[in-house]
Symmetry: C2
Subunit: 198 residues, 2 copies
DNA sequence: TTGACTTCCGGACAATTGTCCGGTAATATT
DNA sequence: AATATTACCGGACAATTGTCCGGAAGTCAA
């Protein structure tokens, strides 16, 4: 097709590395796109052509982490396939809260750039969200089989679950009550998952 | 103290009216602060001195609506004090989803302007949030009395409940599944409130 | 009325985001 | 090799947000 497909990938990698370094040095919110472009030795147009906005760039920075998380979750779920679905759900949420603990700044930036109408880079269509939603939906459906009064729409319930995991709320709980991620995950599961089980 | 306390209030009112009109004409996201200031016949500095940002202005626009909502909730809760706490919780959430239906654009703008570190205009400290949180916490504590395994920390659970009500998630459910607000509220209560009751 | 003090106003200004377009280099065509 | 085509680059540019400061206006005291 065109000349520098490989160079292009290397450039993307170099941009992400530059951004990561700047984020770690000055904090995510303090770094501008202009700054990133300049530090990466490219023009702003080039940066924006690859990443629609800062949230998008953060999403790409988290892509590897998301992949790892997803693989971990898949592996965990396979290994614990014999456990009741609710317990597997709790494992998933525990992992998610630990993930939030480390990545809250980037996740917050992603959330901050979500626009109401912007359907193009829709968070709900992103691979991490769809995977998570699918996983939770499936577990809820499985849990439904052993419930006397099944949940009417596990897909909708799964969306609510994920919504409750917002970075803002997590940070607020962490800072206000000074709970550990494990404690927060336990409280979450106790409030919303355990009551769903027999 | 100073000369025009009353004029100042009138100016605030006129600013809010102007903003409301512009929002209704062009949509909330399409209107800039500069535009609002110009239309209101004031400088940008004056506008920003009264409202720290667009989200703050939206919050003030919703202040009356919030007050009405809060009064309605108080009245409802008093009248239905004899019902089990879970049913009262469901009523609260139903009202909240109906509120979202009408105010989603403004609520979304408020959420969009939340910053991670910004503790000054913290959403979690705003009167509507604290009222809501307090109300839900109390109902959960009341529900706890008749539960064999009480919720460990109703305050934290209440934060999660509110987090699940995010405008983005609500809009997504509405647009994707084409459910009515009532249906969404029912699904929410069925998923998270009913399982908490005996 | 004058003068000191306080409060508020509003546009100029800086910073940031996101878009656009002229230029360049690599590829395909003849 | 010469030309046409395509993809891409990057800075200039417009739009928006949020800040700042000179100045107007009102208050109080003498």
């Amino acid at each position: 097709m065109h000349g520098s497909r490989k160079d292009s990938q290397e450039l993307s990698k170099s941009i992400l590395q530059t951004a990561k370094a700047l984020f770690e040095e000055h904090g995510v919110e303090a770094v501008s796109m202009h700054q990133i472009a300049k530090a990466a030795g490219i023009g702003q147009g080039t940066l924006y052509r690859r990443y629609a906005n800062k949230g998008d760039l953060c999403m790409m920075l988290l892509k590897e982490n998301f992949s790892e998380l997803i693989e971990e979750l898949k592996s965990d779920l396979q290994q614990s396939a014999h456990l009741p679905p609710c317990e597997r759900l709790c494992c998933v949420f525990r992992k998610l809260f630990l993930f939030h603990e480390k990545r809250s700044k980037l996740l917050g930036e992603i959330h901050a750039h979500r626009k109401m109408e912007h359907k193009k880079t829709d968070f709900f269509q992103s691979p991490p969200y769809t995977f998570l939603h699918h996983t939770i939906s499936d577990l809820l459906e499985e849990a439904n089989r052993s419930r006397k009064s099944p949940i009417a729409d596990p897909a909708v319930t799964a969306h609510f679950f994920i919504s409750a995991l917002s970075p803002h709320t997590y940070m607020h709980l962490r800072d206000t009550y000074e709970y550990t991620p494990e404690r927060i995950a336990d409280l979450f599961c106790e409030s919303f998952v355990k009551p769903l089980c027999g």
